[in-house]
Symmetry: C2
Subunit: 322 residues, 2 copies
């Protein structure tokens, strides 16, 4: 029987990931908070990743797979420099050290697979038209720098044989259900989600901004696929750019119009926000994800599909509705 | 009057760097040990970079420039995983945090320039024929991963305005005076230095191994040039590949023969060492250092020059002689 730990299991992706497992599998979630009306049936551990004793407790049953999703998001990491580095780096380091201790104590018998959610924020401008798998990581945000450091750490633990590992560089996840969060990318979901829920939405950047998207369903698919890959197929560089959809804000809006009509689109207001504009300028727009595609990872090919997935999985299902 | 702190000032480069300053400048050295017969006239602080109170003491007089050279070397970082990460990352992080505290406490009045010695070990194979300035950092050693993380940290502190900063990716420094050290690259110097001192030398790799070299004199030149660059000329990505000389071990040996003769060359014995061979395979061989050259950094253009510099600066001078 597979046993799985989801660090950051109270978050949106963590909850959806937990739902993807059958009742025959043991799923534990570690997080500082859990949704009040969660339909997820799993062992919940309440606490912070920066608390080594809570982490030790979470690793106590020697999970086969550990998804490490916990993170201070990009906007918050930019505003609170110390908190971002403390949680996004130091806690991950302490986690990896505990994995290594278990590996050494068990004489190599315990060697879990660690699947870490990284981000396309590890890349910084100037960008080529399409970012290839060997593009350099020169981030222009604290969040991106922290994710890039974690990738380097994980890769070194993997190289030394203390665990198996994959770092999944997620596209911006869209449409995120629930409330807006502190991520600078929050509006990419907000301009779809809020109107579909009859609410006004702010667009802080111009409509010609191009960005790289995948649905929450695709994100869960990436993580489960990373779990299923045979160890011999894992590449030496464990940080992988995931497939996604490159589209402009205008294309997002036109997809919304085609699905929900003009009245819904009219709920979007343009309120330029210089801080968001500046952060988004430093973000990639398009990728050539050759390695991930060859490994069998897949995502949506139209923004209409991304909206339909939100309607099917969240708006109708209602679990994360506003 | 300029005030300078050299963290790792007891090491070979640290000592030579200190000697490059005039008596009118205040130079402090922090290290766990200093050479017994040093001719360097500087304020010595004995202690480890991992001791926050020693670091605080070192920063007490608010140095204008801080050279951060302290590091567990590549071979040792590979053998002692915990020590490598502790010293090479955690101590550097703690140092940067203290710089930031000083910046915040002084309301931005104190903003030193941090010059960090990184390494070409941040790069991992497969390599192009010449590594360009935008080649990705995908290291294949713990030492390389640690240096790459430090670059990301420093760059984020610089981006946020807490300090100025440059990370100098040194070529392999050759000819190192003194005794062999635990760096896997130690033999590149040993095969020149030992024979010139009448001693036998081991060559652990084959003579067709190509590598990237610069003299200690060039290294001091890089560091002083990084100190002198006007803040407006510093590039956003503060990690810079330094110029150097690409040559094979055979070319090194022929340069030695042309300067010192056959009898000296005969002191080199080939003793293949699989561990060293494996590490060196993952190292770069040649670079196109456009950005650094445009910024005015320079190095040697022949291995004969590199040997002559060793003879002038160290063999005759005797400070670091075996």
């Amino acid at each position: 029987m597979t046993s799985v730990l989801i660090v950051g299991g109270g978050g949106m992706i963590g909850q959806k990931l937990a739902l993807s497992y059958s009742d025959h599998e043991t799923v534990s979630l570690l997080d500082v908070a859990f949704p009040e009306h969660s339909i997820v049936n799993a062992n919940k551990i309440l606490g912070s990743v920066s608390d080594a004793s809570i982490m030790a407790k979470s690793l106590n049953n020697l999970p086969d797979t550990i998804f490490y999703l916990a993170s201070v998001v990009s906007g918050e990491a930019e505003d609170d420099f110390s908190k971002g580095w403390d949680i996004n780096i130091q806690a991950f380091w302490s986690f990896l050290s505990q994995i290594r201790d278990q590996y050494l104590e068990s004489n190599g018998q315990y060697k879990p697979r660690v699947i870490f959610t990284s981000s396309i924020a590890v890349f910084g401008s100037p960008f080529p038209k399409k970012i290839s798998d060997d593009f350099l990581t020169a981030p222009r945000t604290s969040y991106g720098a922290q994710k890039a450091c974690c990738e380097l750490m994980l890769n070194d633990f993997v190289r030394k044989g203390f665990c198996e590992g994959v770092a999944i560089r997620l596209p911006t996840i869209c449409v995120r259900p629930g409330k807006p969060n502190l991520a600078a990318s929050s509006f990419f979901s907000g301009i779809i989600r809020e109107p579909l829920n009859g609410l006004k939405a702010n667009l802080p950047v111009s409509t010609d901004v191009r960005h790289w998207h995948a649905s929450p369903r695709a994100a869960v698919g990436f993580l489960r696929h990373a779990e299923s890959l045979h160890v011999t197929t894992l590449p030496f560089n464990s940080a992988l750019n995931m497939p996604g959809l490159s589209c402009t804000v205008e294309e997002q809006i036109e997809a919304l119009r085609s699905i929900a009509g003009n009245d819904v689109v009219r709920l979007i207001d343009l309120h330029p926000d210089e801080k968001i504009i500046e952060i988004v300028k430093g973000w990639p727009q398009n990728f050539d994800t050759k390695i991930a595609l060859e490994l069998g990872f897949s995502a949506e090919s139209s923004f209409e599909d991304i909206i339909k997935i939100y309607i099917e999985d969240d708006l109708q299902n209602n679990v994360f509705k506003n």
